[in-house]
Structure formats: C-alpha cells, structure tokens
C-alpha cells in the first residue's frame, strides 16, 4: 500500500506534479532552513488527494509552492502538464489563515473573483448570492469579516475560491476552526460540489479521519526539517460518500489503522522535539 517517493505518473495525465521539489527558507544569522526535502508526487485530473502530517512539517509550504507563492530551491512543479512559471493562475487556493478582504462584505468578497475577471457587477453579485447560499451564509451577505465567526469566514473564503471555477483546488485546513459536526457537514458539501465538476484537489488537514473520508489518496508527510512524503495510500471507498456514515465502514477502519501507524511515529517525533 505504502510507496514512499513513488515515481509520479506520466505528466500528461497529472493536474499537479512535483519532481524532486526542495524548499528552503533563508534564516537570518544561520544558513537556511531546509523545510522540504526532495519531494515527488502527482495529483491526477479529477483526483482528490489529501496530505496529512505533524504540525510544522511543511504542508502549507508545499501548497504555496504549487500556487507559485514560494519558489522551490530545486526540482520542478508542473501544473496541467506545463512547468509552473510565476503564480499559478489555474489554482483556487483556500489559505490556512484568513485571506478574505476585511474591508469588503461577505457578498463583495465572493463577487470579487468574478469582478476581477471582468464580469459585470450585477451578474457577479447574483452568482455570489448563489454561492453564499450554497455554503449556508445567505443571511450573512452584508456582514463584514470581523462580524463573522472563524468558520463563517472560512466558508466565505471557500465561496470566493469556488465561484471562479478554478481548474485545481488547493485547500489548507479549510475546516480547521469548525466543530466536529459542522466539519462533517462541510465535508459532505465539499464532496457534493466537487462531484459536480471533479477538479483536482490537493487538501491539507490535521484530521486523518477527514482525509480518509474525503480523498482518493492520502499522502503522509514526515516531520520537518527535510520533510518528505513517506506514505501514499489509495482510499478505495466507494463514492458517493457520506462523510459521517463512512466512518462506520469496516474498510475505513482498516485504512485508518494502517495510515495512523505510520503517521503516529512522525507526530511523536515532532512532539518529542517540541518538548525537548
């Protein structure tokens, strides 16, 4: 099941492809911090891939590299078969931190993606209302971000990203600030939205159960520095899935046990370092 550093499939079929990508951060006074060491993997078109790994291992850094926000120190990132140059315009990126504009209402924030693309205001607004309804925020259209809860802001961010219909989706712990029940509801919602047009998704989460419930594949990242992908598990659970019910499935438990046994060692490593 597990195949560390497996050679990625042919470039033609991958939405996202990383070849030997290394990422280092310059640190004042010291040399550099080697966050991510030689990493290769690919996400096929219409594939939903999750990355799990201990905190601080480099998951966000990896997504930033795919988005073109961080330049790898080595290796190559390709998106839809072409080497990535500059920012990745095909990607919709839901950031780990709040990225909505604090000076715009929920509605304006969601409509922004379309307005920027040159769509008329009225049309953008109508579609934005649709999307706010879809993420359950129809009543909050006129609120400013500071008047929304953390989870509501995340959902505004989700609508803001999805309204542009990006070809690939990068999501960094999108349901982080939500309670367990809402997480499952949002997970099911995400799967429904995804099923409609099956974009390639690269999804980062701390929550292994969530990763298994949503994904086609779960990648395990080792603790940093020099983090790598150390596990690649195919999730052969039938779709469509209900993210709550699927957790009762026997196969779900088998997968969970197998992945967790690998992940646990890395989490313990990070924790050991932090408390040492």
């Amino acid at each position: 099941m597990s195949a560390p550093d497996a050679p990625p499939g042919p470039a033609a079929t991958s939405a996202i492809r990383l070849d030997d990508v290394r990422i280092a951060f310059p640190i004042k006074g010291q040399s550099t911090y080697e966050a991510v060491a030689s990493t290769s993997f690919a996400v096929a078109e219409s594939e939903f891939v999750s990355i799990v790994g201990p905190t601080g291992c480099g998951k966000s850094t990896l997504l930033n590299a795919v988005a073109g926000l961080v330049k790898p120190a080595g290796g190559r990132v390709s998106v839809l078969g072409r080497p990535l140059v500059g920012l990745c315009r095909e990607a919709g990126y839901l950031f780990q931190q709040d990225a909505v504009m604090p000076w715009k209402t929920a509605l304006d924030n969601v409509a922004l993606g379309l307005e920027v693309a040159g769509r008329p205001r009225a049309e953008a607004e109508r579609e934005a209302r649709d999307w706010l309804t879809r993420v359950g925020l129809a009543r909050f259209a006129d609120r400013y971000p500071h008047q929304l809860s953390g989870g509501q802001r995340k959902r505004v961010g989700l609508a803001q990203v999805l309204i542009r219909h990006p070809k690939i989706l990068l999501m960094d712990e999108p349901f982080g600030p939500l309670d367990a029940q809402t997480r499952q509801i949002m997970g099911t919602l995400l799967l429904d939205l995804w099923a409609a047009d099956r974009k390639a998704v690269l999804f980062v989460t701390h929550d292994l159960e969530e990763a298994i419930a949503l994904s086609d594949r779960v990648l395990i990242m080792s603790a940093g520095p020099n983090a790598r992908i150390i596990g690649d598990h195919r999730i052969d659970l039938a779709r469509p899935r209900d993210t709550a019910d699927i957790r009762l499935d026997r196969r779900f438990h088998e997968l969970h046990r197998a992945i967790w046994s690998e992940l646990k060692a890395e989490v313990v490593k990070t924790y050991g370092e932090a408390s040492a």
Partner: protein, 262 residues
C-alpha cells in the same frame, strides 16, 4: 454608563470649572482675589464678549477664514501625503534614498517655517495653508505608507492568485488598507491643519481666530483672549464631531474595539 449619565457628568465638570473660576475672580478670600481679573478676566465678561462677537457678526468672517485655511491645508496635505505615501511604499529604492531627508524635515519644528512662508507667500491665507500642509502631509504620508506596507501577506497573495493586475490590486487591496490607516489618524491630521492655520494667523495676518487672539493680547484685553480661545475650542469640537461622523461611515468594516483603542 448610560448616555444621559455621561452627559450629566460632562456638564458637571464644566460647571465646576467655571464656578471655581468665578469664585476665584470675584470673591475675596482672606482679603485677596485668587484669580485677579486683570490676568484671568471673569466668566461673565468672557461670556458677554463671546455673545457680542456673535451678535455683531464680526466673528463669522474670522471663523470662515480659519475654516477655509484648515480645509485647504488638510486637502492639499492629504493629497500630497497619499500620493507620496503610495509612491514610496511601492518603490522601496525611492523610499530608501529620501528616508533621511524626510526624517530631517519632519523633525523640524514647523513654527520656524512660518516666517519663511510669510516671506514667500505673503500675509494672506496661503502662508497659513502652507504651514498646515507641512503638518498634515507627514501624518498622512506616514500612515498611507504604513497602510500599504502592512497589507496582510495572505490577503495580498489571495488577491494576486485571483488574477488581479496592479490597478485592481490598488483599488481592492492597497487603497482600502491605506485609507483605513489614514482615517485612523484623521482626528490628528485635521487637528494639525487647524493648528497650522491658527499659529500662522497668530504670527502675522489680518483675519482669522489666531489674529483675533493676537489682537486682544496686544492690548492686554484678557477677556478678548479668553473669548477667542473659547470660540476656537468650540470650533474644534464641531470639527471633531464632523470627523467622527465621516470616520464611522467609512470604517464600518473595522472591528469596533480597534476604533475604541485609538
């Protein structure tokens, strides 16, 4: 605290202060006046003088001149500060080259510039406007600069990934952020515009509130000085109230606590 209770307390402070002034200037304690009217005037005289200033209508012209100078100083200083603030924030090399000179000019007490401006621009309103501009410009400049620099990296990355070009980034990201910083210092910059106008008038002019006060001082007319100061203070309160209204309208998106903290 309820609104009414607050208002009552506010009024009470004023009443107590005026009562103390009145007692000090008109009731002999152990044979002496604590506040001799020659130096401190009396509340009654000052009040009568204020009434007369408005009754004869002479004060309106001076108020108008001061208001005009304040408004011009603010507008010109703000536009300059915004333009240069943006320019410097987006062009770090320019900012680095001019940095020591800006600090130098900003450290200069502006009062010393007043005579130079009078020499250059005459005794009319423009020398006062210029003085106000030198004060307003730097406040707005530093705030706009900060506002552009302090845009959250994540918000900026999000905007870029959305496909914004430079013009759209300016409109949707840099401008609102800079504006919020500028408005957070609006009270200060409007206040400084007024300071520039009044100080300029005080040092040499033929109209305005500063001129009125200066005239009264020239003849030891203490009631006149105090009356001028009261009119000026009331004028400041009105302007400040107007600024608050503008601010509340334009900064609705900001958390209330952040507004309260400033």
């Amino acid at each position: 605290m309820s609104r009414w209770k607050l208002l009552v307390l506010q009024v009470l402070v004023g009443v107590v202060a005026i009562a103390a002034w009145w007692i000090g200037s008109s009731v002999k304690i152990a044979g002496v006046l604590l506040l001799p009217p020659f130096f401190f005037s009396t509340p009654g005289d000052v009040f009568a003088r204020v009434i007369r200033m408005f009754a004869t209508g002479m004060v309106w012209r001076h108020l108008g001149i001061t208001l005009l100078e304040t408004a011009l100083a603010f507008a010109i200083g703000a536009v300059g500060g915004i333009v240069f603030g943006f320019w410097f924030a987006r062009k770090p090399t320019v900012a680095a080259v001019f940095d020591p000179y800006l600090k130098m000019v900003n450290a200069l007490p502006r009062v010393v510039l007043a005579p130079i401006f009078m020499l250059w621009l005459g005794l009319g309103i423009w020398s006062k406007v210029a003085l106000g501009v030198t004060l307003v410009f730097f406040i707005v400049f530093f705030n706009v600069y900060q506002g552009v620099k302090e845009v959250s990296a994540v918000v900026l990355a999000n905007a870029r990934l959305m496909g914004m070009n430079e013009r759209q980034l300016f409109r949707h990201v840099y401008w609102p952020s800079a504006l919020s910083w500028m408005f957070s210092s609006l009270h200060t910059s409007v206040g400084f515009a007024l300071v520039g106008a009044v100080v300029g008038e005080y040092l040499g002019s033929s109209a305005g509130l500063g001129y009125l006060i200066h005239q009264a001082e020239g003849v030891f007319d203490i009631a006149g000085v105090f009356a001028g100061m009261f009119v000026l203070a009331a004028f400041v309160l009105v302007i400040d109230w107007a600024v608050t209204l503008v601010e509340n309208r334009l900064l609705v998106w900001r958390p209330q606590s952040a507004l309260l903290n400033e």
